[in-house]
């Protein structure tokens, strides 16, 4: 066990893992986090806590993680390289590990242009792949990247994101491989709608044996309406929703589209479960956490297994 986290254990046991995510509030009220965490609780193996997603300022990811854990779910700390230089990154990692956070997701972070503070100076001292490498060095070698010895190495189950739908397609898998080479233990994918492209992606990844080196959690997001589907397809970089998917929603009357979206999401999870190399799903029910239970239960993934192996959570 590299970190001993619940997620790592579930995956190590060969169980189909489920994660979800939880965005911290735009304020200091812990209740907001706790309320969201209630919806998550019992439905997942770990819950991502986002780090100033889309460059909109929110409660810090680490604080969010602690609140999530408090409500009884294992947190997964997201960390972007946009806002911290390598000094801050190392320091925050040590702190998170000390406070018992065991899952980590290394990200670049959206450009500040999209947030409330487009005038901010970004950092990007190192990039997300270099962050993976940095965490792995600290965890496995017990040294800082500078070569100085650590007084107690941090323990993390190291993850990162991959997007099979971004351009150019031909380097999507090589880039995945770079992340594996840098030391990623698991990946969560961008939400998948185009199963054809994703299948091709997986074929390539499998050819390189990546599914054996890294646990792949497939990302899904239930669509609330045809409007949301069209908007995401058009406006969100790296999201590819094929026309038939949109049409299936559009064929429903407006008031039934949400239910249809959930039905489609469940179907998709079941398909993914059958796909070789997929170790779990990451369900991103954006501002729709209350449906997690319905979706995950509907996909036959409840209750979540309890895997005991070695040490348990403190």
């Amino acid at each position: 066990m590299k970190s001993g986290s619940n997620l790592e254990r579930v995956l190590a046991a060969g169980q189909f893992a489920v994660t979800a995510e939880c965005g911290p509030p735009r304020g200091a009220d812990p209740e907001k986090v706790l309320k969201k965490a209630e919806f998550v609780k019992g439905n997942v193996d770990a819950c991502n806590v986002t780090d100033n997603q889309t460059s909109v300022v929110r409660m810090s990811s680490l604080a969010g993680c602690l609140l999530v854990r408090q409500s009884g779910t294992e947190p997964l700390l997201q960390m972007v390289v946009r806002d911290r230089n390598r000094i801050a990154l190392q320091s925050d990692l040590l702190g998170a590990s000390a406070l018992g956070v065991r899952n980590l997701l290394c990200l670049s972070g959206d450009h500040q242009k999209f947030g409330d503070d487009p005038q901010a100076k970004n950092v990007f001292d190192i990039d997300s792949i270099q962050l993976i490498h940095l965490v792995k060095t600290m965890r496995d070698d017990g040294v800082f990247p500078s070569g100085e010895k650590l007084d107690g190495a941090p323990k993390f189950f190291i993850g990162c994101a991959v997007n099979p739908f971004a351009d150019p397609f031909e380097i999507r898998v090589p880039r995945f491989k770079l992340k594996a080479d840098a030391g990623a233990d698991f990946v969560q994918t961008q939400c998948i709608y185009n199963m054809d492209t994703f299948t091709r992606y997986m074929e390539e990844a499998k050819k390189m044996g990546l599914h054996e080196r890294v646990k792949i959690l497939a990302g899904v997001t239930p669509l609330k309406s045809v409007g949301m589907a069209k908007f995401m397809n058009k406006m969100v970089a790296g999201i590819d929703i094929p026309e038939p998917v949109i049409k299936r929603l559009a064929d429903e009357p407006k008031e039934k589209q949400a239910a249809k979206g959930i039905e489609m999401c469940i179907e998709q999870i079941q398909q993914l479960k059958e796909m070789e190399g997929i170790a779990g799903v990451h369900v991103m029910a954006i501002e729709w956490e209350e449906k997690l239970n319905e979706i995950i239960g509907g996909a036959g993934l409840l209750p979540r297994p309890v895997v005991d192996e070695g040490e348990t959570e403190r």
């Binding site: 990007f124 001292d125 990039d127 971004a166 351009d167 880039r175």
Partner: protein, 221 residues
């Protein structure tokens, strides 16, 4: 070349508000080439300021000059005899030129008439684009001659990020994804294997993060 854009007239008018008699100084160097600070722009700016001030009831006397370069001491000398006859110098050279002039003429306030931009190229008439950040540690040989530090909005060393769509960066429709360019170029050069290598963390000490930089070449002194 160093590029720049004119400062808004309102901002300049505010800057020169206290003065009745100023010099508008252009530069025949980079800012002439990028058409923001040459003789022509001196004339346009001077005329504009005179109009605005006289219309406001406070005529402004302007001496229009254009120096060979504002970043070499010898070229500043011709201004010395008369610079103190004026209350301020409004320079439309780059920030380097303006500062250098400020150092040389200690008793005269120096005002910037342009916003200095970046090290860029003329993509076509009237359109300039950034190519280099002067980071002091060039990796162009590894990236197909395209700089990830400058051309990627996030200066990633292992791009592209998920924000690359159809070769365009999510930051702006007009910005090509630097990493798409690098990959295309590596492919054309048959050097795609360079992509698959992990790159070490960049040392930023040679860039601006190391503090104001200075080059001293003993052999040339």
């Amino acid at each position: 070349m160093i590029t720049g854009t004119p400062k808004p007239i309102e901002e300049i008018l505010e800057m020169i508000e206290p003065y009745e008699k100023i010099i508008v100084a252009g530069c025949f160097g980079c800012v002439t080439v990028c058409r923001v600070g040459g003789e022509k722009e001196v004339q346009v700016l001077a005329s504009t300021l005179r109009l605005a001030r006289e219309a406001g009831g406070r005529p402004l006397e302007i001496r229009e000059v254009c120096l060979e370069r504002q970043c070499d001491p010898e070229y500043l000398d011709p201004m010395r005899p008369y610079v103190e006859d004026y209350q301020a110098v409004l320079s439309i050279a780059c920030g380097a030129g303006i500062q250098f002039m400020a150092e040389k003429f200690a008793r005269t306030p120096l005002l910037p008439g342009i916003n200095t931009g970046f090290l860029g190229v003329t993509e076509r008439q009237g359109e300039w684009a950034e190519r280099c950040q002067g980071c002091g540690d060039c990796v162009l040989h590894l990236t197909g001659g395209i700089c990830p530090v400058t051309r990627c909005a996030k200066s990633l060393f292992h791009g592209p990020c998920g924000g690359s769509v159809g070769g365009i960066c999510e930051v702006s429709r007009d910005v090509p994804c630097g990493w798409q360019l690098i990959i295309d170029r590596l492919k054309a050069l048959d050097q795609l294997e360079n992509y698959g290598k992990l790159k070490p963390y960049k040392g930023w000490s040679s860039a601006r993060d190391g503090g104001p930089r200075r080059i001293i070449r003993e052999d040339m002194i």
